[in-house]
Amino acid sequence: MLSSDIIGPVHPEIFDLKELKMLSVMCVISGLSIIAASGIPALFFSSSSISAHRLTVLLFIAGSLLGISGTVMALYSPIPFVLSYNWVLPFGQFSVSVDKLSAFFLFLIFIIPALGSVYSLGYWKQSEHPENGHKLGLFYGLLVGSMAMVVISHDGVLFLIAWEIMALSAFFVLTTEDEKSEVRKTGWIYLVCTHIGTLLLFALFTFWNKATGSFLLEMASALPSGVSSVLFLLTFLAFSFKAGFIPFHIWLPGAHANAPSHVSAIMSGVLLKIGIYGIIRMTGLLPVIEPWWGAVFLAVGAFTGLFGITFALAQRDFKRILAYSSIENIGIIGMGIGLALLGRAFAKPELIILGMGGSLFHVWNHALFKSLLFFNSGAVIHATHTRDIEQMGGLAKSMPFTALFFIIGALAISALPPLNGFAGEWLLYIGLFKTLGLSQIPDLAFAGFASVALAMIGTLAVATFVRMYSTVFLGSSRFPLHDPVQDSVKSMQIPMAIVSVICICLGVIPVLVAPFLDGAVRAWVPLVGLSVSVFDLAPVSWLTTIGFSLFVFFAVYALWMKIAKTKHATQKGITWDCGYSEPTARMQYTGTSFTRTIVNLLSFMLQPKIREREKMVHFPEKKIFHTSFPDLVLDRLVLPFFELCNKIVPRMYVFQQGQTHLYVLYILLMIIALFVCSGIGVGL
């Protein structure tokens, strides 16, 4: 049946298109089911069995491969296929579909957690963690499977069910080490936040059902502007808790810091993006877009980005820095969504394509480099047994590969060319600058301010990651380490290497993502009669030229250095340090001192807590200096509020006397009160 000239894309003449679409959905569903169940067989093995762990990973990878093949097939079908069954529940139905927007997110869900699963072989060895290894494996699989289910749900009720499974299994994976009180505390905060989000989702889908007459997630035909504004606000609030826009980010830094590193990697890289997916999906279904929605997202995004990176700059916990930087990146993604919404409100397709394209590209990019950096954090923490970067130093010599992977991730996340972070932000920048050219809508030019915020975020990100890289990997070791430090095992390095290579490839040859991006943007909003690609609007081939020339120049230089080495006398010596001959490791700049000036400048945002004690006596005595940067929202607003509640609520105990007749009295009083109320109601 296959003729020799058709090897490339599958043509409809060869396979029945409907069958192909059916097959694609089936592949995705069975893939995600295998992933979700991947941790179950291991439960029948002994709790320290390594082969059980390997089996889990193997099943996970098999499921991912099946899922990826289904997703690739979905890319070839012009119209998404909807698979529906009725079920016994009184509302909603089992309805799934894999369109190109879902496919875009499915790639993330199938690729990054699979790498994380391989990583866990070395990082969370079953033999070293018999008490919680199987639990982690079970819920890790369930989390990833349910994320995939969320993304392909075509029905509000199914979406909610999958969402709740996802939220709960995320709770269990992040509280893997539930014997630690800090882990339990962050777990609780997460649980509360995610359920506020779920509650808002209930409101959203109920309202959606009311407005459109069904739970199906299909483009609404026409909605009054008030109704769609309410739907938009509910969407924004409900998903912001998961995505982590400020001030809804409060669960995020603690949760990312305290989870095992590969879990942090998929939480930051993938789970936050499910929140973004929700926003993109739901806004795509609304027929009319109000201009202020885009403005809200631009403003919230810019604020989130600046706030997130400022806090990242001040932290000293390796994983907390990465967590705050995730908040920053979510802000950037939000700015892209804002630009795209503005483009839809004003019917400017180029803004839609550049905004949504930049935003989605950044979704991929952030997932890649952030998981790379979290994998890295695991390797470093394994070697040093601490998360405090001020106790590290000089690791590049003992862990050269880890250091190399880190610098690739750091360059990418600081959005520097020629890596993928820059390529994504470049689209967004061009979109923001294009608003200036639209003279018929002068108000839109205020979007230009967002580009300045983006530039500032960029330089602060450079500062953050220079600080991090140099404090952890450069200089000399600040404290003697317990064991000799060496590079991590192969199973941890291979995932990092794969992600690094993808980061470089997407940075130098961004055109690779064009088909994925174009499909996803058009799945968000059908741009009828417009065949322009993302990269037609931004001449991305130049990034390839510049990227390659950077590499070529550097290679030539490295070669020249090899040759020139023989010609020039190169001596080794201690750091010159203006002639000081006895430098010690304690004299180096620490991460905190490195950012001291910039933190002082930004202290109006950071509100640092400084504890200092210096006795003024004739001979200097021991001095204490301690700074900390409590989260503005969590530590200064939310927790004090609940503490206040804790103080007030006990006063209600007087009503709770434990005597039956008193409770009967309460019931009587209540009934009387209800009668009175209804009497007033009738009277009105």
Partner: protein, 303 residues
């Protein structure tokens, strides 16, 4: 084709002359003879032939940083139009690459400084990233103004290279504001007085000079060359905004441009002679003034 040739030759050969002129101007102000204008060429040639001492604390970052900086500045130089000709490379969004290439250079320079494990160099790196986070918004506001005025998303178009027509009428005030703002950015980015002192009479050796304390020999030579090229590249953007006319005759335009650049060096020399260097804690206020100037200029062109 000839333009591209001249562009490359100027970009590669002219830069070390500019610090020479600045120093000569300063010397004249101080009533000294001063070093010859070609001093930096001699220095670079001398350094390239020397051996070097490398600290045992350092890694490959320390050796790679100077050349990465040079490559970044060189490619940024290819994106900037010199004279009245379009740049060697121009495309939509090239100004973003221009700004971010300097970011890449900064990443490696500061990492190399911290690589030595010296408190001095850490201090310099810390100041560098702090001040960069203030110059960048000013630069982007200036870009916004230029994009709005010219309607082009490429440096060559923004600076009206290759055309006689200049900015629309009524754009003088915003342009003057961004010229002042960009001049402050130019001084800060090139570590000149009042932000930094290239002669570095302490305040613990200031910013740029302290970051390269441990570099020696060819590495130092490359750094010197790269920083003079940075002066040239950033200066060319400024000159292109300042010079309101070109004759349209190829050779005359090139002369006007080179003359403008030399004048800029003299102006920098005069600035350095008449203004005292600021104390470090005062520097942010100047940079914030630059942001405000460029920002208000943007608000002006919006209305």
């Amino acid at each position: 084709m000839i333009d591209i040739g001249i562009h490359l030759v100027l970009l590669l050969i002219l830069p070390p002359l500019l610090p020479g002129i600045i120093n000569k101007t300063k010397a004249l102000f101080a009533g000294r003879v001063g070093p010859p204008v070609f001093q930096l060429y001699y220095d670079i040639f001398k350094l390239m032939r020397k051996g070097m001492v490398i600290s045992e604390t350092t890694t490959w970052i320390f050796r790679a940083a100077p050349i990465i900086t040079l490559i970044c500045v060189f490619i940024a130089g290819l994106l900037v139009p010199l004279g009245n000709a379009p740049a060697c490379l121009f495309f939509m969004g090239d100004f973003l690459l221009y700004a971010y290439l300097f970011g890449l250079a900064r990443f490696f320079t500061t990492c190399a400084a911290l690589d030595t494990g010296s408190a001095f160099e850490g201090m310099g790196a810390s100041r560098e990233v702090t001040f960069a986070s203030l110059t960048e918004p000013a630069l982007f506001f200036a870009f916004l103004v230029l994009v709005k005025l010219s309607g082009s998303l490429s440096l060559s178009g923004m600076l009206h290279a290759g055309s006689i027509g200049r900015y629309p009428a009524g754009s003088v005030a915003p342009l003057v504001m961004i010229i002042i703002g960009m001049y402050i950015v130019f001084l800060a980015e090139n570590s000149r007085i009042p932000v930094d002192d290239p002669q570095t009479h302490l305040e613990l050796t200031m910013i740029h000079e302290v970051m390269i304390l441990d570099h020696s020999g060819p590495l130092l030579g490359i750094i010197e060359y790269a920083s003079s090229m940075k002066l040239f590249v950033l200066g060319s953007v400024l000159i292109n905004i300042i010079i309101p006319f070109y004759s349209g005759v190829q050779w005359l335009d090139w002369l006007i441009f080179i003359g403008g650049l030399l004048c800029l060096s003299v102006v920098v020399g005069i600035t350095e002679s008449v203004i005292a260097r600021l104390r470090m804690p005062r520097v942010p206020s100047v940079l914030i003034a630059a942001i405000l100037l460029c920002g208000s200029s943007f608000v002006m062109v919006l209305r």
